[in-house]
Each structure stands twice: as structure tokens, then as C-alpha cells.
């Protein structure tokens, strides 16, 4: 058995700042995970379809445009619609009140600027329910 944690890192919305997404993707890679990065300006529909085909264990969304509430709602709705249920975490510029709201909505974790990559790794492993191989 050669089980690997598979993660989709996606950037929904229209902002073009993907440094954060790349840092997280690289950090998770170095923690032994298979990270699929789909690039800039993805629609929620594209993200959920990609996650289904790739059979990932978790989705990470990077959002810096301020559209996090509507984007996350839409991603979760689509997952309900397709009866496809995996954890989702979000990183980016998210005000504290909104972060709380996102967690209530069903997002598993919210990471702001300056989060150590080790914290993201730990949380992903914890949520997926599996240690490092």
C-alpha cells in the first residue's frame, strides 16, 4: 500500500496574486503530499469538478479578492449538489468575523497571512485523519 494524501490547491475569483497558493502547495508537497495546482481564476464549478476527477482528500482555496463568502458558499453548495463531500480549507485575507462565519458554514480551517506552513500541514493531516507516511 502506498497511500498518499492528495490535495487540490485552487485559486477562485479574479485576483492574480498566487504567491500564497504556491507557498502552501510547495509546503504540502514537502510534507509528502500530492498537490494538484490548477492555476489562477478558477470558477467554483471548475474547482469541484477537478476535485472529483482527481479524487483528492481535501481542497484548499486561496482567496485575496474579498469574495470569500460567496465563493465558499458556492463551492459547498456544488459539493452538496454532486453529493461529493470532502473537507475544504481557505487561506488569504479573511476578516476575523468572516472567518468565524466560514467555519460555521462548514469550512474546516481558515488561515491568514503569516501562518507557519507547518501549521497548515498539521491541520491538513489532522482533518484528513492520517499521519505523514
Amino acid at each position: 500500500m502506498d497511500k498518499r494524501i492528495r490535495v487540490l490547491i485552487a485559486k477562485p475569483g479574479l485576483d492574480g496574486h498566487d504567491r500564497g497558493a504556491k507557498v502552501v502547495a510547495r509546503g504540502l508537497r514537502d510534507a509528502g503530499m500530492e498537490v494538484i495546482y490548477t492555476g489562477l481564476r478558477q470558477t467554483p464549478e471548475e474547482i469541484v469538478k477537478a476535485a472529483m476527477q482527481e479524487d483528492v482528500d481535501i481542497i484548499g482555496l486561496s482567496i485575496l479578492s474579498g469574495a470569500h463568502m460567496s465563493v465558499c458558499r458556492r463551492v459547498l453548495d456544488l459539493m452538496d449538489q454532486y453529493d461529493f463531500h470532502i473537507p475544504v480549507f481557505v487561506g488569504g485575507i479573511i476578516p476575523a468575523d468572516d472567518a468565524e462565519e466560514l467555519l460555521k458554514m462548514g469550512i474546516k480551517a481558515v488561515f491568514g497571512p503569516g501562518t507557519p506552513i507547518s501549521e497548515v500541514v498539521k491541520k491538513v493531516q489532522e482533518v484528513v485523519g492520517q499521519g505523514v507516511a
Binding site: 514537502d30 500530492e34 498537490v35 494538484i36 490548477t38 464549478e45 479524487d55
Partner: protein, 325 residues
């Protein structure tokens, strides 16, 4: 006790893959995605799918096209453009895109999808990214199993994109029906083109980024080198980002496909694929046995060779007995 538990787990994964395969045959993509994960983690599970669906699989005629070439030559972008062409012909397509896994952590950054965005919401295109997971031939050991699953699903075309390949990652030649080698200007002089290995396995040559300086020169050099062996393999100039040359690429692959079927060569390619699949699995077993051998420095290599072969037979017989129980 431990042994028994792993055996129970194995049986349930057999049941799981068989029940998923039923759904795959009915066109359920989510079942296909889950089955691929199982096969990736345990490639030998595909045996059960192959024996259960043997009759159905025999009727499938999916054409397998491999894209290989150096990193950054444009394999993903070219795949994307080719898929667009296939979709215009109303063909459905399954893609396997392999990127390298880290030899140190086993992690991987799989980025081939970035170039294929326009197909994400098209239900007739299925894209799966894979890490190479220790395979050094440019593929992943599970590729053979995924081909079977894609055939069962009923894709007209199966496209395999290898990791960025240099000179000797040539496993794709044993897997694909048609191999497309993607070059780009500044790939080196004609001596590079004369070297053995990857240059020998192409059925169709593509010079991508042909709007850049040096493309025509590379084509002339390649033509000259191919003349040495009296080869009439096609060379196509493309610009994948604009779609230039894609029509021609499509036509050349169709011609190659027709030739394979006309001459019966397609069956040779199938046999080659079966042999390579077996080889991959056997080598894996050998590596496993060697890595667990305890040796001291006085042991001669030929003693170790004998011991490994003996142990391999023993392991195999034990597995066989367990299966019969």
C-alpha cells in the same frame, strides 16, 4: 493475527474495486476517480477488474496516444489543443498526466492541469494527475491499470502525458499505440538528435513553439537525421498556444492509427504493453525482496542473486497459497 487482518482488508478492497468497476461501466465518473486511487495505492487490484470484464474489455478500441518530451517543451499545452480538436470531432477523452514525485518525501506538485482549464467542466474529458511514485521510466506503475479502467469507461482516446523526459525515459513506447515526441527550438544540434533513446521511440515528431527562432533549423536537422535511417516519420511544426499545426497533428495521428490497424501492428503494441505491465510488477517484487535482504560485506554478488531468486519464488508461492485458501 496481523496477517489475517491484512487479508480481510485485501478481500474488501477486491469487492470495492469490483463494485466500482460496475459503476464505471455505467459511466459514473466519481466511481472512476475512486477506483484510480485504489489502483494507484495497490496496482495489482486491476487483475480482478481485468478477469471480471475480460469480454467487455476485448471489444474496446480506445486509441492510446502518448505525449513525451523535455520539461517545458509544451506537452500539456499541446495535449490541451489536441483534446480540443478531438472534442470538435465529438470524441470523449481520458487523460493521464504524470509529474515527478520527490525521491525524498514522496510528495509531488502536479501542475499539468493548469494548461487544460478549458476542459474542466466538459463531462466528456476526464483528467487525472499522477505522481511518478518511484517509477523512473517517465510514468507511474498504475498507468497500466488506469488504462484498463479508462477502457472500461469507454473513452475513444486515452492520452498519456509523461513526466518531462530527457534522453532515456522511454517507457511510454511500451504503453502507447502512438507516441508523439514534443521538441522545441534550442533542443540542441543534430548530434543530440542522433543519440539513441527517446529519439527512436517517436511515431510523430512535433516541433512546438515553432514561432521561435531556430524551429526551421531544427526541422532541417531532424529531417537529415531521419534520412540516415530512411525513416518517413512525420515532423510537424506547431504553436500549441495558438492552435497552429494542431489540425496536421490530428491528421498524422489518425494516419498512424490507421496504419497500425491496417498492418496488424496494433496487436504487437498490445502485447508489448502486457509484457511491460508484467515486467513492472515483477520488478517491484524483486526490489521489495532485495531491500529486505540482510547481507554482510563478505557476501558475493552471485550469492545474493541466487538468494533473491529463491526468496522471490518462496514469496510468490506463499501468496498463491493464501489466495487459494
Amino acid at each position: 493475527m496481523v496477517e489475517k487482518e491484512t487479508k480481510i482488508e485485501y478481500n474488501s478492497s477486491i469487492e470495492k474495486i469490483l463494485s466500482l468497476s460496475e459503476k464505471i461501466k455505467n459511466g459514473e465518473q466519481i466511481a472512476l476517480a475512486k477506483a484510480i486511487t485504489l489502483i494507484e495505492n495497490e496496482p495489482e487490484l486491476i487483475f480482478h477488474v481485468e478477469s471480471h470484464w475480460n469480454e467487455v474489455l476485448k471489444t474496446r478500441t480506445s486509441h492510446i496516444v502518448g505525449f513525451t518530451g523535455s520539461p517545458g517543451a509544451g506537452k500539456s499545452t499541446l495535449t490541451d489543443a489536441y483534446v480540443t480538436k478531438l472534442r470538435a470531432q465529438n470524441r470523449n477523452v481520458g487523460i493521464i498526466a504524470v509529474d515527478p514525485s520527490s525521491p525524498f518525501t514522496g510528495g509531488a506538485l502536479l501542475g499539468d492541469r493548469i494548461r487544460m482549464k478549458r476542459h474542466f467542466t466538459d463531462d466528456n474529458v476526464f483528467i487525472r494527475s499522477m505522481g511518478s511514485r518511484g517509477n523512473v521510466g517517465g510514468l507511474n506503475d498504475a498507468v497500466f491499470g488506469v488504462i484498463t479502467l479508462y477502457k472500461l469507461y469507454g473513452f475513444d482516446y486515452i492520452i498519456i502525458e509523461t513526466v518531462g523526459a530527457g534522453q532515456s525515459e522511454i517507457d511510454i513506447a511500451y504503453v502507447a499505440d502512438s507516441v508523439v515526441l514534443v521538441l522545441s527550438p534550442a533542443s540542441g544540434d543534430e548530434i543530440q538528435l542522433m543519440k539513441a533513446g527517446i529519439m527512436e521511440i517517436a511515431d510523430v515528431f512535433v516541433i512546438n513553439k515553432s514561432d521561435m527562432e531556430g524551429a526551421q533549423m531544427l526541422k532541417t536537422n531532424l529531417e537529415m537525421v531521419l534520412q540516415f535511417s530512411e525513416s518517413s516519420k512525420p515532423i510537424i511544426l506547431t504553436v500549441a498556444t495558438s492552435g497552429k499545426g494542431i489540425e496536421e497533428l490530428y491528421i498524422e495521428i489518425e494516419k498512424h492509427k490507421d496504419r497500425l490497424h491496417g498492418s496488424g501492428e496494433i496487436n504487437e503494441r498490445l502485447k508489448r504493453r502486457i509484457k511491460k505491465h508484467a515486467e513492472t510488477l515483477v520488478l517491484k517484487k524483486i526490489n521489495k525482496v532485495i531491500s529486505t535482504e540482510n547481507i554482510d560485506e563478505s557476501l558475493m554478488v552471485y550469492d545474493l542473486v541466487d538468494r533473491v531468486i529463491d526468496n522471490l519464488c518462496e514469496v510468490y508461492n506463499t501468496e498463491l497459497r493464501n489466495k487459494e485458501v
